[in-house]
């Protein structure tokens, strides 16, 4: 059996794989079946809508060119596009989207991530990430103004000297005050991250911590 074709094909090939799949994949699926996946429209909340409106005020010409009104449908479309750009540009190979309960991360980034935060269509596949060259972004929304992000994407070194983050001039039509569709979508996606929490985490907390240390 241990050296036969049937044994290797059936037991090792199919059997052990199936065993691992059941125990490691089907068990969590079964455990979280009470938490159905939310659609993108369902995760558009009041805060992200107001950031969306803020984009319209800051960049009226650009905004009207690509999205007409500030409503849930348009915001959902922008979020979908923003997430795809985030993936396509490889941001997730430099930024994670989960705060671990260790290593003082909840003091640096905000509350520890929980399962329900990921049960939505904008986390399929989930953006946990595996490498942090830059900081975790799962509580980034609201931490900076949208204009800061625009300048930062255009050329990170302008606002963050010595940043190794690549620049993304193709999110803009020539200058940081003219984001294109991808640029607007990227900014709103970043502002969405963490907007579902009751409070924006207070990063000022961090400075108080540092004084204590």
């Amino acid at each position: 059996m241990f050296e036969s074709k049937a044994g290797i094909f059936g037991i090792a090939g199919l059997g052990f794989f199936a065993f691992a799949f059941i125990s490691n994949a089907l068990v969590p699926i079964w455990m979280y079946k009470e938490l159905p996946e939310q659609t993108v429209e369902e995760v558009v909340n009041a805060r992200v809508l107001s950031s969306f409106g803020d984009l319209k005020q800051r960049y009226p010409e650009q905004f009207d060119k690509y999205f007409d009104a500030v409503d849930v449908d348009n915001c959902a479309e922008a979020l979908r596009l923003g997430r795809q750009v985030y993936i396509g540009e490889g941001c997730w190979h430099c930024h994670s989207q989960f705060v671990r309960p260790v290593s003082n991360e909840s003091r640096r980034f905000g509350p520890v991530s929980e399962t329900w935060e990921y049960q939505n269509a904008l986390q399929r596949p989930v953006m946990f990430g595996t490498r942090r060259v830059g900081p975790d972004l799962s509580r980034e929304g609201g931490r900076r103004g949208s204009d800061w992000h625009a300048v930062h994407f255009f050329e990170p070194k302008i606002v963050s000297t010595d940043s190794p983050m690549p620049s993304y001039p193709w999110f803009f039509e020539g200058s940081p005050d003219k984001p294109n569709k991808r640029g607007l979508a990227m900014i709103i996606y970043i502002q969405w991250l963490g907007s579902w929490l009751d409070e924006y985490p207070y990063y000022e907390q961090l400075e108080a911590d540092q004084e204590e240390l």
Binding site: F9, F21, I87, V102, R124, F128
Partner: protein, 498 residues
Amino acid sequence: MSEGSSSPDFPQHDEIVNERLVRWYFYMALTFMLISMLGGLLMAAQLIHWNPLNGIEYLSAGRWRMVHTNAIAYGFLANSFLGVLHWVVPRLTLRPVLSNRLSYFIFFAWQFVVLSTAAGIIIGPSFQDQAWVAELSKSLNIAFSLGAQGLEWGETPFWIDPVAQLGLLLLAINFGSPIFQQKGPMYVTLWYFLAAFVWTFLTYGMGNFLPEYAVPGTSAGAIGGLFIHDLVGLFVTPLGWGMMYYFVPIILKRPIWSHGLSLVGFWGLAFFYPLQGIHHFLYTPIPMFLQYGAVISTIAVELVVMTVIINFIGTVWGATDIFKKNIPIRWFYAGMILYFVTCAQCALQVTMTFQKLIHFTDWVVGHAHLVMFGVFSMWIFGVMTYLFPRLLKREWYSNTLCEIHFWASFVGVIIMFLDLMFAGLFQGFYWASLQPWDVSVEVSQPFWVVRIFAGLTMFGGFLCFLYNLFMTMQSAESTETAPDLENKTAINYQVMDH
């Protein structure tokens, strides 16, 4: 049995092995290694502010980092393994593959898959903002990405996934056919290959369809972890070890030391490897008991791996002089030593204690280079160094260049690994100490500078290899063939005769 040289019952080598395909696969593999290394260098340069191409859309470091890893997995490793399979499987089963035409079809289909993956990753995101994309993704409720998909190693754009899946099925049938027709006991290599065909097919399907279309959130994370891990453990590792079980005894002209250990190694890997995926996402919201399970089976597999390494050390014991002259064997055993290091490192880093510190840091990147380059690429370079003279019927143009290739790769990857390991420790401590983020980036700079030079060393060695190969191809065919080129079928029996 080894004396039964060229008995007329046995098919001759040329009747069953399609050497042209082996060559073609190796050339494509080397092309993608070149592309991948350039991508790695670009990203490395970006991190130390030396990237002159920053701001050019199609050369963006973020996109090229994904080309870097995908070109390695699907371009270099898969192509090399396919070449090796075309050499090894017919020789071990004494039968040709199912269909020569199918083989050519698979070759072209696979190059299409890899090239369109690269093209999709590089060009796709630029066209993401079109209206029809938004329409479709809204109405179908799927992430409709023209560029990379959001799963590590599964970045292959969605429209290529079905092609790749079909290719894997055809490949399993093409090579499975001689294996299933073969009578009598199977040699160890074929255990690994047969299992790898099943696993690769299943793993690819699991990772490229479920998390994208069916399963949301945290559970998809668990599946993504399984996928990342199984790709290394159930595709690369079994093909790699199968290859070693074939080439090492042939070159050493000795049987494998212990059949029992071969059995333990294979079945231990088969059982424990698939169970570890979640160790990539420790401290996530994935249920804790599953995380502990993954940690325990990871430590178990390290022990199993030791038996395989002991088996190979037993095989070479008493004949270690061969390392001095024989470059392929040196590649193999150097790779095995690094395999031991990788596994020892893994048994530590997988524990929750280490994870607190090193997760998300460069430590992990160092680990990835150690296993992907230091082990599997080194083995493949060894096989290529051994096979090219046979495929081209010429001696290597320069033995010195072969030596340089070995030493530059070996030293380069060790430096890269040590450097990134320490970088990871520093980053971990800086993050935990709540210093501003930029400080941890600044602290990493010297390590990143060392890394690019280590990478350039590896790259330089690789260029020597390419030049050597080119010059070898230009040289005249040599009439006198190396001794073990003659009795091609006899050699097979020597391997089986353990």
